[in-house]
């Protein structure tokens, strides 16, 4: 007898967001138990990586590594190696040591504030992955100056998604979606009868409108947007992505979306590309593989935005499909500039001005 298809969906609060797991299988009890394993692991990772909890392993490392070498748990060490690699390969656009900058701007337990230039200069002295020394043989971490802090805020949720997918796979589930709230998700396989998992990318000006739809299969997607966290002071709006080279919030960027085989990489790179902008990202993609980047850029006219899509070598194999519809073709004459409303059912960037500069 052929087993019936069972769909399981659960949500779980962790890391300041809501993780969601959808999984298909044939046994509801089994899927529920797999879900328990996934969320237990996410909670464990939060307990290990949180800088909001003094007892977390990362907090202990931050308090100790300036005075002596600290040994890290293998998986965390691996993540820190990966984070430092991303810091270096993006020229510091993603910076695992940028925590003090976030604090200076009041994005850590604060309400937002504008630090003075001299304060920013002070803080920048304590930022830079070059000050983090990782001894792979000993699995130890050492800071070469006081005041340095590792902050996994721009990579940890993606990492947790990957670990969750590992568990789901280990238990034999082949169709699942793991999402960490606003930022990162991984689509494993496809829902029964579907080509992939349908993901609506939110319009940068409206959380209820889709700017694009993409179908994912064995692919992750991560977003950095100016709408995620920000504060207003006077007439200025300050978004939470800080450029570690200037110490100031990035301007002229609405969102950077990265598609990659790993959610951890997609998470780190979405922050990096947001900081780097289109041209520097193009340079990055020229020397890396299996990545796709999508930008929503401000337009000079009101609440409109421009799209730019960039691809690296191998990007056609990462499992992301943009649907083509007649409507999209019709509207594609507008050169990729659109209002949110008209973008809802279109993915016209695919033939737009910036499109498809495969590198």
């Amino acid at each position: 007898m052929r087993a019936a298809i069972t769909r399981y969906e659960a949500a779980h609060q962790a890391m300041g967001t809501e993780f969601t797991l959808v999984a298909y299988g044939d046994d509801p009890q089994y899927l529920t138990a797999v879900g328990n394993e996934v969320f237990d692991e996410i909670d464990r990772l939060e307990g290990q990586m949180s800088i909001y909890k003094p007892k977390s392993e990362l907090s202990v490392i931050n308090r100790t590594a300036a005075s002596r070498s600290v040994c890290a748990e293998p998986k965390l060490f691996e993540l820190l190696v990966n984070a430092v690699d991303h810091s270096q390969s993006t020229g510091g656009a993603f910076d695992v040591t940028a925590g003090p900058l976030m604090k200076a701007w009041g994005f850590f337990r604060g309400k937002g504030r504008v630090p003075s230039n001299s304060e920013i200069a002070q803080v920048l002295r304590r930022v830079g992955s070059r000050h983090v020394h990782l001894n792979r043989a000993e699995r130890t971490i050492r800071f070469d100056m006081e005041g340095l802090e590792l902050d996994l805020g721009a990579i940890g949720k993606g990492y947790a998604v990957d670990r969750a997918v590992d568990i789901v796979r280990r238990y034999g589930v082949t169709r699942a979606l793991v999402s960490s709230g606003t930022s990162s998700l991984y689509a494993l396989g496809a829902p029964p009868g579907a080509r992939g998992w349908s993901i609506s990318l939110r319009n940068p000006y409206s959380s209820e409108k889709a700017a694009n739809i993409v179908y994912l299969r064995n692919c992750s997607l991560s977003t950095s947007g100016n709408y995620e966290k920000f504060f207003k002071l006077g007439t200025n709006t300050y978004a939470h992505v800080i450029d570690p080279s200037t110490g100031k919030p990035v301007e002229n960027m609405l969102a950077a979306i990265v598609l990659a085989p790993s959610a951890c990489d997609a998470d780190a790179l979405s922050t990096a590309f947001y900081v780097m902008g289109v041209e520097r990202t193009r340079e990055y993609l020229a020397t890396h593989r299996d990545l796709m980047a999508l930008f929503y850029l401000p337009s000079s006219t009101g609440r409109k935005f421009r799209r730019a899509i960039l691809r690296s070598d191998g990007s056609s194999r990462i499992g992301a499909f943009f649907p083509r519809t007649p409507e999209r073709k019709r509207k594609s004459t507008r050169k990729g500039t659109s209002t949110g409303a008209s973008a809802r059912s279109s993915a016209r960037y695919a033939t737009a001005r910036w499109d498809d500069r495969s590198l």
Partner: protein, 435 residues
């Protein structure tokens, strides 16, 4: 066994229909009278017992033109004087409530006397042809339930309303609407508490008035904390579970305020409603950290009400379904869904400032609750005011009051049984005949 189940169901249905009929009757009446006070058909009432609670009600009564206070009564002269000053309508005053009841020009009486007098005065009031508003708990002794019921049945045209004022609270009405609409899923536990660091003692200038003023301290007159505090939340649990408990266990002690009082200064009790539903109530007078409130907990959500503030939490529950679903997920836009699980103020003390991410998202979540018809922005009137307006509206429009006999009886009976459980250390059950 079968009979017991049937009886249970019948009893619950009865309470449910009584409550919903009352709730339906309550609100339009409130609006109609508040907006169109008819000067000629004001209810002429006497007020019996103008102590602390009596004067609390009198202060609200001064703003309700649907009723006119023409007489007050108290056996303690300073309270009698205080009542007259509070209502300000120059009522005639009495020390003997029976003389007040003898007046033919009085339509209704409101009674806020010590508990042990409730049944006698309620019965006398009904038999004198008056509509009766009786403060909670409705009665003191188990046998008084039947006595009141008989007299009330013999006077069907007279309103009998019990002063369980949370039934007139829009906050609690909203909470119960959420329970009824399934926002909490299957409700299995009500946790409630009244906590305060207070001797619960009123000052007595002349020692001979000690038992009169501090009647709450003495078992001859008082059901202690269970009657004075617990009765409110017993009624909330009855409301949430749409019925009465089947049994109660409890404990308690006089462990802190050993000042000659006879009632406990801390009590803990668990009411079993059958079918897995339980209500845990505790009250203490040596620590006020947790204030007053109730948590209504279902398998899909929690309502956490503390004082005048209610917060709704969605329980993260896995959804299991069969067959493929239309999978349409969002990137960069799911934060608002997370906000619902963080806790949504169902009665914000003030509107969220549009200052940042969390405020905006919780505003979105509240709009979402409002769109489901289960969100009210704020308490539009004080529940004391509401219950008093409802009393006059029930009289003038010949409608069932918001807290009719059945609700008050179930509440008072649970107080008595819980006190018995605490005093005997034995589980106390409801029998078919008792309710």
């Amino acid at each position: 066994m079968k009979d017991k189940v049937n009886d249970e169901v019948t009893r619950r249905n009865f309470l449910r229909s009584a409550a919903s009929a009352a709730a339906l009757a309550a609100l339009p009446g409130v609006a109609a009278i508040a907006e169109n006070p008819g000067p000629n058909d004001a209810v002429r009432y006497g007020f019996i017992g103008t102590g602390t609670q009596g004067c609390t009600l009198l202060r609200f009564l001064t703003t309700i033109p649907a009723g006119r206070c023409i007489a007050t009564c108290d056996i303690y002269p300073p309270n009698l004087k205080k009542g007259v000053e509070t209502i300000g309508s120059k009522p005639d005053t009495y020390e003997d409530y029976r003389q007040l009841l003898d007046r033919k020009d009085i339509d209704a009486v409101l009674i806020a006397t010590p508990l042990y007098l409730h049944a006698r005065m309620t019965i006398d009031g009904l038999e004198a042809g008056k509509h009766v508003f009786i403060e909670k708990s409705m009665f003191f002794k188990e046998e008084e339930a039947e006595q009141i019921r008989k007299v009330s049945a013999a006077h069907p045209k007279q309103v009998l309303q019990v002063g369980l004022h949370r039934r007139s609270s829009v906050l609690y009405q909203t909470a119960m609407e959420m329970v009824g609409k399934g926002a909490l899923g299957r409700v299995l536990l009500v946790q409630s508490r009244v906590t305060t660091h207070s001797s619960w003692r009123r000052p007595v200038a002349d020692a001979k008035y000690e038992r009169l003023i501090n009647w709450r301290m003495y078992r001859e007159y008082s059901g202690g904390l269970m009657a004075e505090m617990g009765s409110h939340f017993i009624d909330i649990a009855n409301w949430a579970f749409e019925g009465e408990p089947v049994s109660v266990i409890g404990t308690g002690g006089l462990d802190y305020w050993k000042d000659g009082r006879e009632v406990h200064d801390n009590i803990q009790s668990i009411f079993d409603y059958g079918g897995g539903g339980r209500h845990y109530f505790h009250c203490m007078l040596f620590n006020g950290h947790h204030s007053n409130g109730v948590m209504i907990m279902g398998d899909q959500g929690t309502l956490d009400i503390t004082d005048d503030r209610g917060i709704y939490f969605r329980e993260p529950v896995a959804k299991i379904s069969s067959g493929p679903a239309k999978e349409n997920w969002w990137a960069g836009a799911t934060v608002s869904k997370a906000a619902a699980q963080k806790g949504v103020l169902i009665f914000p003390e003030k509107e969220a400032k549009d200052s940042g991410f969390v405020d905006r998202e919780s505003l979105y979540a509240r709009r979402w609750l409002a769109s489901m018809g289960i969100y009210q922005p704020e308490e539009p009137y004080d529940p004391y005011w509401g219950e008093l307006v409802n009393f006059f509206a029930s009289i003038r429009e010949n409608k069932a009051p918001v807290v009719p006999l059945e609700i008050g009886t179930a509440d008072a009976m649970a107080v008595i049984k819980a006190n018995r459980a605490i005093d005997t250390g034995q589980k106390t059950s409801w029998t078919k005949k008792s309710a």
